[in-house]
């Protein structure tokens, strides 16, 4: 395995959410009002457009030149980019500057709406953001002719409401949102959402401040589903959070920073991302991750090609390279997230049999059956749900 301890860096720049107090946030707060105001004043013309652009004509020749990739931090295997360059003769300008979906969107919506280059030929937003970008008409379709390994994708991901048939978005890595707990501190197994509200854990619970990651599993415990959310079902989950917040049960609403509190013993049960827990377990074998009995949610990051790309063919080459199982196994081994390609066991075994046996990396079918993904939300739903949840988390 790679000998970088990703956790050390992850503390500062988490994959899922750039630390709330980061300099970028501070700058956004200081510059925010004027920048945001000036941004929003002249973008009316593009709002609501949804015409899908057609990809630039493909001359059938091999890809050449430079590919600019913008990905999340710690979301790549050592030597992977070099291997791609050797295999294809392309040059890759690889940047880890994708820290947060909404932050990325806020920064790039202006140039994208004017169809100006954003400095990246391929980016890796989460599914919901990819759907939003496709809806705005800002993505190029991915050529099936160049994406020959496309058939390796898990079938459940191919037939997805967010992008039926995977025309615009190629799944990259997936992960589970469940509960992580410290067995030594809880003294028992955690299996249900109700366990979160055990008075013994008062002030030792953390929930995600992200609306989808935080509320999804709570809605499922109440018999609702994030696949078919309504304001009522979301509000019902929020009421549950408020009730327990008022009791002092919930210590913090977190991004990725729950990991530190969990490791330090300040939190004993936390809403958590599977990939983080695999990494944390190396230091603390008492930590365990469980998908609650009533179910948990899954998130999916996808590779997309903005319609401002300067090198469509190279981006497609990159996607196809990643979709080769042997290459992809290296990626999974390093990032420790859940594969989006099917039948990975053999390739993972070649690297390290422990990987294939780890239920957090290679989840068994019964775990996968308990996972649901959020439906792509409409503008109004995103706004309403975020607002309703922020009323509890932000106040």
């Amino acid at each position: 395995m790679a000998d970088v301890d990703p956790r050390a860096i992850a503390r500062l720049t988490s994959r899922r959410r750039f630390i709330g107090g980061g300099a970028a946030t501070a700058a956004a707060l200081i510059l925010g009002p004027s920048v945001l105001a000036s941004c929003s004043s002249d973008t009316t013309s593009t709002s609501g457009q949804s015409a899908a652009p057609s990809a630039p004509a493909d001359d059938g020749a091999a890809a050449t030149g430079t590919l600019r990739v913008s990905n999340w931090p710690l979301y790549m295997a050592d030597g992977f980019v070099a291997a791609f360059q050797t295999a294809t003769g392309l040059t890759v300008d690889y940047k880890e500057d994708f820290n947060d979906n909404e932050e990325w969107f806020a920064k790039n919506k202006e140039p994208l709406s004017r169809k100006q280059d954003i400095g990246a030929d391929l980016v890796v937003p989460t599914q919901f953001m990819a759907a939003r970008l496709a809806g705005l008409g800002w993505l190029n379709p991915i050529s099936e002719a160049r994406w020959t390994n496309r058939g390796n994708l898990r079938t459940d991901l191919m037939d997805n409401k967010a992008d039926p048939g995977r025309k615009f978005s190629a799944p990259y890595l997936s992960g589970m949102v469940g509960l992580a707990y410290n067995k030594a501190a809880t003294g028992r197994d955690i299996t249900t959402i109700d366990d979160l509200w055990d008075p013994a854990f008062k002030g030792k619970i953390s929930l995600f401040s992200d609306m989808q990651d935080g509320l999804g599993m709570l809605m499922m415990s109440q018999g609702a589903s994030p696949e078919d959310p309504s304001l009522e079902s979301v509000q019902k989950a929020i009421d549950l959070v408020r009730e327990n917040k008022d009791k002092g049960q919930i210590r913090r609403f977190t991004g990725n920073d729950y990991a530190d509190d969990l490791a330090a013993g300040n939190i004993v049960v936390a809403q958590a991302y599977s990939g983080d827990v695999v990494q944390l377990q190396k230091d603390n074998p008492d930590l365990d991750f469980v998908v609650p009995e009533s179910g948990g949610t899954t998130f999916l990051d996808t590779m997309v090609i903005p319609y401002t790309t300067q090198n469509q063919k190279a981006a497609e080459e990159w996607i196809n390279f990643i979709y080769d199982r042997a290459n992809y196994a290296k990626l999974v081994a390093f990032t420790r997230y859940v594969p989006v390609l099917s039948d990975m066991t053999a390739e993972l075994n070649k690297i390290d049999p422990e990987l294939a046996n780890n239920p957090l990396i290679n989840p068994p079918a019964e775990t996968l059956a308990k996972l649901k993904a959020w439906a792509p939300l409409t503008d109004e739903q995103t706004s309403e749900f975020n607002k309703a949840y922020a009323a509890v988390t932000g106040g």
Binding site: P33, A37, S41, T44, R252, G395
Partner: protein, 291 residues
């Protein structure tokens, strides 16, 4: 002759204006323009798609009603925390600044250096370090628990005291330095004179040192109080779900909810309240000529 003298005089009259021009231009671009842009936003409505919203200016004072109505608790809490932190800073910094100014002798520069030293480490890292020190399983909590001094929550981290402590720790340098500067300027012969007039320690402090140090107290309090009220880092890292400050609310409104008008209105409410507080405070201390 007259002409030459006239132009010199004219030039010297223009010179000060030329000298403040860069600063004025800077303030104009980075303060006045955003200020009015923010004001405009706070009185606007958002229309259109939430991803590419348009702000339409409509004298929408409803934003202020919502800001004040929904977040009164956080506003009051922020002022309470900031006030407590300012008082704590003053109580801690005054003796320290006094010792450095009067008693440190040749160690003066060394001590000042030590005061400044922690601030070479970035704000964020310093704050996060407190999470380790105050951790539930840490020795500080153990020790305080043994002597029965823990807050009612049974922990230190994620309590209002941790947030206030963080604010005090992070901003205290802005209290120490102005206090030191004003104390250091005090002529020691004045202290001798007060002794000659049979002033005891308490009297000397009340009649001589404190009045002369007031500019430092005033500047220090403002420098601590104002950033503390709007701070959101300490509440984010050291606080819990019950310690949210107005800075956190504004952050969430801007970056998560993306309700720019309400966020802007909250920023304005905060600014107005701070301004009112500062005016009352300077009036009360009667030091208009000092700031």
């Amino acid at each position: 002759m007259a002409g030459v003298a006239g132009s010199t005089r004219q030039r010297s009259r223009i010179a000060p204006y030329l000298m403040i021009l860069p600063a004025m231009a800077y303030l104009g671009v980075f303060y006045v323009v955003p200020f009015f842009s923010l004001l405009r936003t706070s009185l606007s409505e958002m229309v259109g798609s939430i991803y590419l919203p348009t702000l339409s200016f409509s004298w929408n004072f409803g934003n202020y009603a919502r800001a004040l109505g929904d977040y009164r608790e956080q506003i009051l809490r922020s002022f309470g925390y900031a006030l407590t932190a300012t008082v704590l800073c003053l109580l801690l910094a005054f003796p320290l600044a006094y010792v450095i100014a009067f008693k440190a002798g040749r160690f003066k520069n060394l001590l000042l250096g030590l005061v400044i030293l922690p601030f070479f480490v970035t704000f964020l890292i310093r704050t996060i370090a407190w999470k380790t020190i105050l951790a539930d399983d840490g020795w500080v909590v153990d020790a305080l628990g043994t002597v029965g001094l823990l807050p009612s929550e049974g922990r230190l981290l994620s309590t209002s005291w941790a947030v206030i402590g963080g604010l005090t720790y992070n901003w205290i340098i802005f209290m120490i330095l102005p206090l030191y500067v004003s104390l250091e300027k005090i002529d020691s012969r004045l202290l001798e004179a007060s002794r000659d007039l049979y002033a005891g320690n308490r009297r000397m402090f009340g009649k001589v040192i404190l009045p002369l140090a007031l500019p430092g107290v005033l500047a220090g309090s403002l420098l601590v109080f104002i950033p503390s009220v709007g701070d959101f880092i300490n509440a984010d890292y050291l606080g819990s779900t019950e310690t949210t400050m107005i800075g956190n609310v504004i952050q969430t409104q801007f970056l998560v909810v993306k309700d720019y008008p309400v966020a802007a209105a909250l920023s304005f409410v905060l600014m107005a309240l701070i301004l009112a507080g500062v005016l009352l405070y300077t009036r009360a201390l009667g030091t208009e000529d000092l700031v």
